[in-house]
């Protein structure tokens, strides 16, 4: 055990090296630097900016800056990477205390800055984690034991609901709740008068401020852990060993809580480590909305300001927390499942170090080439971009094929049973309707998504009514423009017409059409039919919702296809083979998971944005989201494969000489299908919510395109929408909620069908 821990800690070193290089490189690639603000303020002269550039070392190439950073962080230093005036004092190689540099914007050391915030974030993370697992595991077990009871039904409905609400939206609602009721603080870590309180009251004050953020932060976690727990428990309840135990006359309680629970809890324990590390970055949105002074908020603003050394210190901190979390997960896993051995991997320190070194050298070489031959380099870069786009096209084709195959499989094996269950039918119908609407958005939407009408901003929804023997809409006038109060004009109506003639457009880019489903029978160019109201520039929310659906609904499908395929292959193989493959694959997985995805997104976006159109941004987001998403799946699949590999039927197949690929596809896949389906249906919503969250931070889809997330972000950034009650602008949130709910319900039905053990 001790050896295992030491090995793991040693493996941390190359990982940290790799991540720090990557982050440093990305920081270099994103245009501009810390002095942006100074450069653009009218009372700071360019000479001062230039002097500061020199003082901060920003005039040096990135690898020199990185080398100097590494030198100051490492306990073993060399004098050649010190500033010239300090070289004299030291030996060529000497020992020194690690120094993480200082924050340019706060002018204090990065480590003390991070130290200030770490306690707050740790408190939040630990409370939320305890809340999540403390509530979710018992609930999941009870739901499984009392499967089909009212408790199970209510719990599963509530967990659907909890999973379907966007995170930041929930945080915002929590802030509003606190503001309106006054029962709990609206934000912050402690109250304004905190300094004047007694120690006991101070502790209570902290506790009181933790309630809302930790609830918001853990709600989604509770729901998902509970669902996985319930699924696993049901799996193992019918496992052979449970049957054997029953046959032996063991009491049902003992079977449930000794045998089944211990097995069912495995994947949950594996996720524990990640949950811990994930909270560090996951808390960012909540910290931002709820104004909680944690690490996430600090690092995010450092990224935005390009306060380099704070970002680096934060990244290192995050990686260490992640590795610690995983170590904890592995140890817990070993304690919970005696069949899993820890010692079966050896560390190929040399190969790993060499590959890291190669990456660094390649990056340096690339920088050098790009700077010495900028023309050739940019030509190569744009060629690569074109190749990338072509490759992406090929990938899309492949995914479409895979989806067609999956659909065929689905229709043959799942559809009859799904349709037979009420829940399944409802979910399928809702999703079918949504996807059809997205597909025919151009025909269904009365107006183009970008058409404004400035004298009709925040127009309320107008549903057609039956008047004078035909379908008509009421005409509204803006009674008080200072608060956008619309009142119907008595007696004025405009008839609604179906299959109305409109400006010519091309359906799906190639079918020439001139007809729209619905419109108004009038010559007035300013008359509008707002089925679901209008937004701040008078654009039709209904039309925007339909166009936005194209983005929001497809992002989940494409993302999940990439994620699941990659996650299953890597996780299955590494669980099956173990050893060096497992080690390298898992370190890679950890590497991916440890890279602050948000920063990766931000940096890649600003580095690539000039090469991409606003509409192509979508492609980039899908790729980055799924590239970061597959790692989690792989990790869990590996955990399951690890214990599957020890099972008799696998060993039997091996001794019969079946190839690994065949074993994985024939034996691992069916056994892991229940997990893949449950987590797949859980992941599609995660992509939809992910897109919404990205748009919330301004990193997602951009105008003039629309997506549900973007629409919601626009509504949420405008406080008057909530305060003056323009409720229809929150409809994208409802759309997200319904879609996600339908996916979750469908997933559960599918899970019940897919489980082969359920058949007997």
């Amino acid at each position: 055990m001790l050896k295992f821990i030491i090995r793991r800690l040693l493996a941390l070193i190359p990982m940290l090296l790799g991540i720090s290089v990557l982050v440093f490189l990305l920081m270099y690639l994103s245009p501009g630097d810390f002095l942006n603000e100074a450069r653009n303020s009218k009372d700071i002269s360019p000479e001062i900016v230039r002097q500061q550039e020199i003082a901060l070392g920003l005039d040096k190439p990135w690898y020199v800056q990185y080398g100097m950073w590494l030198n100051s962080v490492s306990p073993i230093k060399t004098k050649y990477l010190l500033p010239p005036q300090e070289r004299e004092k030291h030996w060529p190689v000497f020992l020194g205390a690690p120094d993480f540099g200082y924050s340019w914007s706060y002018k204090i050391s990065a480590s003390s800055l991070i130290g200030q915030r770490v306690a707050a974030t740790l408190a939040l993370a630990i409370v939320s984690l305890l809340l999540t697992y403390g509530v979710a595991i018992p609930l999941g077990v009870i739901a499984a034991v009392k499967k089909g009871s009212w408790f199970d039904k209510i719990a599963s409905f509530l967990s659907y609901a909890a999973l379907s609400i966007p995170y930041f939206f929930l945080a915002l609602l929590a802030v509003l709740f606190a503001a309106v009721t006054g029962w709990l603080p609206t934000g912050g870590q402690c109250s304004i008068m905190h300094d004047f309180l007694s120690p006991a009251a101070r502790a209570a004050d902290y506790a009181k401020h933790l309630i809302l953020p930790s609830l918001v932060l853990s709600l989604g976690g509770i729901a998902s852990v509970m669902r996985v727990m319930r699924g696993n428990f049901l799996d193992f309840e019918r496992a052979e060993f449970a049957t054997t135990a029953r046959a032996k006359g063991m009491s049902e309680n003992a079977i449930m809580f000794k045998a089944v629970l211990r097995n069912a809890i495995n994947p949950i324990i594996t996720s524990f480590g990640f949950a811990f590390a994930g909270l560090l970055s996951g808390a960012l949105l909540v910290e931002n909305v709820m104004n909680y002074p944690g690490l996430g908020q600090l690092i995010y603003s450092a990224i935005i300001k390009q306060d380099q050394y704070v970002v680096m210190a934060g990244v290192v901190m995050g990686c260490v927390m992640l590795v610690m979390g995983q170590l904890l997960a592995d140890i817990l896993l070993a304690l919970a499942d005696p069949r899993i051995r820890l010692e079966n991997s050896r560390i190929p320190v040399l190969p790993v170090s060499i590959s890291i070194l190669a990456i660094i050298l390649a990056a340096v070489g690339l920088t050098y080439v790009s700077e010495s031959m900028p023309d050739t380099f940019s030509a190569v870069l744009s060629a690569l971009l074109i190749i990338g786009k072509i490759l992406f096209g090929a990938l899309v084709l492949l995914i479409v094929l895979a989806l067609i195959w999956a659909a065929k499989f689905f229709i043959k094996n799942f559809l009859p049973q799904t349709v037979a269950s009420k829940q399944g039918l409802a979910a399928l119908a809702v999703l079918g309707l949504l996807y059809l609407a997205a597909l025919f958005a151009q025909f269904l939407a009365p107006y183009p998504e970008t058409l404004p009408c400035l004298n009709k901003s925040f127009h309320p929804p107008t549903l057609p009514v039956w008047h004078d023997g035909k379908l008509q809409i009421k005409v509204y006038e803006n009674a008080d423009p200072s608060i956008a109060l619309y009142k119907p004009v008595p007696g004025e109506y405009i008839p609604v017409k179906f299959f109305v003639k409109a400006k010519p457009y091309k359906l799906w880019g190639f079918i020439q059409m001139q007809t729209k489903l619905i419109g108004l029978d009038t010559d007035n160019p300013d008359a509008r039919i707002y089925l679901l109201g209008s937004d701040s520039t008078g654009r039709d929310v209904f039309s925007r919702l339909l166009y936005g659906a194209q983005v929001s609904l497809s992002i989940g499908f494409i993302g999940i296809a990439i994620t699941m395929v990659m996650g299953f292959m890597v996780g299955g193989l590494s669980g099956y083979f173990g050893g060096a493959f497992d080690f390298i694959a898992m370190r890679f997985v950890e590497f991916l998971m440890a890279v602050p995805s948000l920063y990766l997104l931000l940096a890649m976006r600003s580095a690539l944005a000039p090469h991409f159109d606003s509409s192509e941004m979508y492609i980039m987001i899908v790729i980055i989201l799924s590239m970061l998403g597959w790692a989690g799946t792989a990790r869990v699949i590996r955990g399951m494969s690890l214990s599957l590999a020890k099972r008799q039927f696998i060993q039997a197949a091996e001794s019969m000489g079946q190839s690994p690929l065949k074993i994985i596809v024939k034996h691992f896949l069916p056994n892991q299908l229940s997990y893949i389906i449950v987590s797949g249906t859980l992941s599609i919503p995660a992509y939809i919510l992910g897109e919404a969250a990205l748009s919330f931070l301004g990193l997602g889809i951009q105008e003039p395109s629309s997506s549900w997330g973007l629409m919601l972000a626009q509504a949420q950034s405008d406080t008057k929408v909530l305060m003056l009650g323009f409720w229809w602008l929150l409809l994208p949130g409802v759309a997200i909620f319904i879609t996600v709910l339908a996916f979750n319900m469908l997933g559960d039905v599918l899970r019940d069908i897919a489980d082969p053990k359920r058949q007997n």
Partner: protein
């Protein structure tokens, strides 16, 4: 067993509840008053005599990054520093003139180049050390201190050949007039004199920018070369008492991400008519919030005492005024300006490729093209629909909020697509059969448009602009980028067609030199010109030079008015709108004097808690 356990649990739960309830119910300790006698040079304030007490809470979306006045501070740091350290003179927004602060009085020499300041007698820093001419001299020594090598010779910047400053700050540039640092000398223990190379009209305003630093507290750091690191947020967190103050407040504590608490400076140099030393309030607390929206919600629900309310939020915040007992003052238009501009840079990059496509540059450089685009922007619609009527059209480069310098009679552009078409036609542009605008050579008019992401207002303006342009046959491609990328494009690589941006405004027009002058680095459409590219830019440069050396304010005003006329006629910037601004404050605070522009709580030290009516 079970009942006992349950009872225990109940007790614990009750106890926890009680603790939570009382977490917000204790009174802060009252600061000690009247410990030190008033100094000889005390300023007696002519405000209504108030009473001591009360806590004033403000929300701020940003935190101070440093408490060191020398480090180029951002707005939020300077705001905090200005509460702690006083300047020689200060600006009174009600009188709209420079008034005494640490300096009791001043005289200007007949040639207008030298200014002598008399410092108040007997006034002290918060730690009881007297404020003298030495502190002023020390402050300016620190600003202009140069880096030296081992022989004591100044180190020169390799690029510019100018000596490198030991503590680079914005002030060095500010107090360098006509290429030469202002001369400063101590006449006696309470008198200092500044001399400029040439007459510089805004000198008295500018001298009020730098807070006087306590020599006794910072001299050691100055000697050691660590002055830039002194008085950082770390000092504020660990040892707030080390940040010596001369302003109305002292730092009580600083909790990054949470709040900053200030308490009265017992040695402050202002007192009321009854001889009570200001400030009246017991504590001033800045609560740091994530964004402006949170701050507005907190104000509207009575949890903080004052806030600037945006035109966007005014519509709903006013509904809460009676419930939470606050008043909102309408403050007229904002001082900032917002605009769209075209890249007019005629130069080529190192490879000889022009920054702007010559075809486009030809369009953009034509004044009629810019005027035509301007006439096609539906600003009235934006004001009506998006701002609910709470905004004004901007007609020139200085906002109407800057009442002293704004020229109301510049050329105005109404929303008029037919006029726009007429201008386009005059400049040789024509609509083709499909309704696309083409230039005389038949090129279709289309351009890229940069907008900073993450701003709801910019997004609304940008999407409306795109639609407005479509109506006159122009295709605009929106490109949302982060602020850093945009800055590097407009300042460095110059590879863009057009962009949307804004500048903060207000104050003396000399502060906008970098924008107006052709060699300015914020002359965004074509920055840092070696010699003016156009006649009208040359004319603006001349006007700017002239107004700086003119002491007669009426004359200066004429020059600045002329400059604005040129900017509105030539339209290098297409001005958009300026929203109305509003200030809200809890009704219990008295002595509120609302100035025509700027913060409503500029006289925090005079405010007192008058309780319920």
């Amino acid at each position: 067993m079970a009942p006992v356990k349950t009872r225990l649990l109940w007790k614990a739960a009750l106890g926890a509840c009680a603790l939570l309830m009382c977490a917000s119910c204790s009174e802060p300790p009252r600061p000690e008053r009247g410990k030190y006698p008033l100094p000889e040079g005390v300023e007696t304030v002519q405000c209504e005599v108030g009473k001591y007490g009360g806590v004033f809470v403000l929300c701020s979306a940003q935190e101070p990054k440093t408490f060191n006045p020398l480090i180029s501070p951002d707005l939020y740091s300077s705001q905090a520093i200005s509460l702690l350290l006083s300047t020689l003179v200060t600006y009174d927004p009600i009188k709209d003139e420079t008034v005494p602060a640490l300096a009791e009085s001043w005289t200007v020499s007949p040639d207008g180049k030298s200014y002598t300041f008399k410092i108040r007698k007997g006034i002290k820093f918060s730690d009881g050390v007297e404020i003298t001419a030495d502190d002023v001299i020390f402050t300016f020594q620190a600003i202009f201190a140069q880096q030296t090598d081992e022989n004591g010779n100044p180190i020169l910047d390799k690029q510019t050949g100018k000596p490198l400053l030991k503590y680079p700050s914005r002030y060095a540039g500010q107090y360098t007039i006509s290429g030469e640092p202002v001369k400063f000398e101590k006449i006696d223990s309470h008198t200092v004199r500044f001399t400029t190379k040439t007459v510089y009209a805004p000198f008295l305003i500018d001298i009020g920018f730098i807070e006087i630093m306590p020599k006794h507290a910072l001299y050691k750091d100055f000697e050691n070369g660590t002055l830039n690191e002194a008085w950082s947020t770390k000092t504020a967190i660990d040892t707030p008492e080390k940040i010596v103050s001369s302003g109305p407040y002292m730092l009580y504590n600083f909790k990054p991400g949470e709040r900053m608490t200030l308490c009265p400076n017992p040695h402050y140099w202002r007192a009321d008519k009854a001889g009570n030393r200001l400030p009246y309030m017991d504590y001033l607390i800045y609560k740091f919030v994530a964004d402006a929206n949170t701050g507005t919600i907190l104000f509207a629900t009575g949890q903080c005492d004052a806030a600037a309310v945006s035109a966007n939020d005014y519509a709903w915040v006013k509904n809460y005024a009676d419930t939470y007992d606050f008043k909102i003052y309408e403050r007229g238009p904002d001082t900032s300006i917002q605009f769209i501009w075209f890249n007019l840079n005629p130069n080529k990059d190192e490879k000889g490729k022009p920054y702007v496509d010559p075809v486009k540059l030809k369009w953009f450089s034509d004044r009629r093209f810019r005027q035509a685009v301007m006439s096609a922007i539906d600003r009235d619609g934006l004001i009506r629909g998006v701002w609910f009527g709470r905004a004004q059209k901007l007609n020139g480069i200085i906002s109407p909020a800057n009442k002293k310098w704004h020229n109301p009679d510049t050329r105005k552009y109404a929303y008029d697509t037919s006029l726009s078409m007429k201008l386009f036609n005059e400049a040789g542009f024509k609509l083709d059969r499909e309704g696309h605008l083409r230039d005389s050579a038949g090129n279709r008019v289309k351009f890229d448009f940069l907008v900073a992401e993450n701003s709801q207002n910019s997004t609304t303006i940008a999407t409306t602009f795109v639609d407005n342009m479509k109506a006159v046959g122009i295709e605009v491609r929106l490109s949302f980028l982060d602020f850093g990328t945009i800055v590097s494009k407009i300042d460095n690589t110059f590879d863009y067609d057009s962009a949307l941006m804004g500048f903060t405004g207000g104050g003396d027009p000399s502060g906008g030199k970098a924008i107006y002058r052709s060699d300015g680095f914020l002359h965004v459409w074509n920055p840092r010109q070696k010699s003016p590219a156009t006649d009208w830019e040359r004319r603006v440069d001349e006007l700017m030079d002239l107004q700086e050396t003119t002491l007669d304010e009426a004359e200066r005003k004429k020059l600045i008015f002329k400059m604005q006329e040129i900017f509105s006629e030539e339209l290098p910037l297409l001005y958009l709108i300026t929203p109305m601004s509003y200030s809200g404050i809890q009704s219990k605070w008295r002595n509120i004097k609302v100035p025509p522009t700027g913060s409503i709580i500029w006289n925090l030290d005079e405010l007192y808690d008058g309780g319920e009516n």
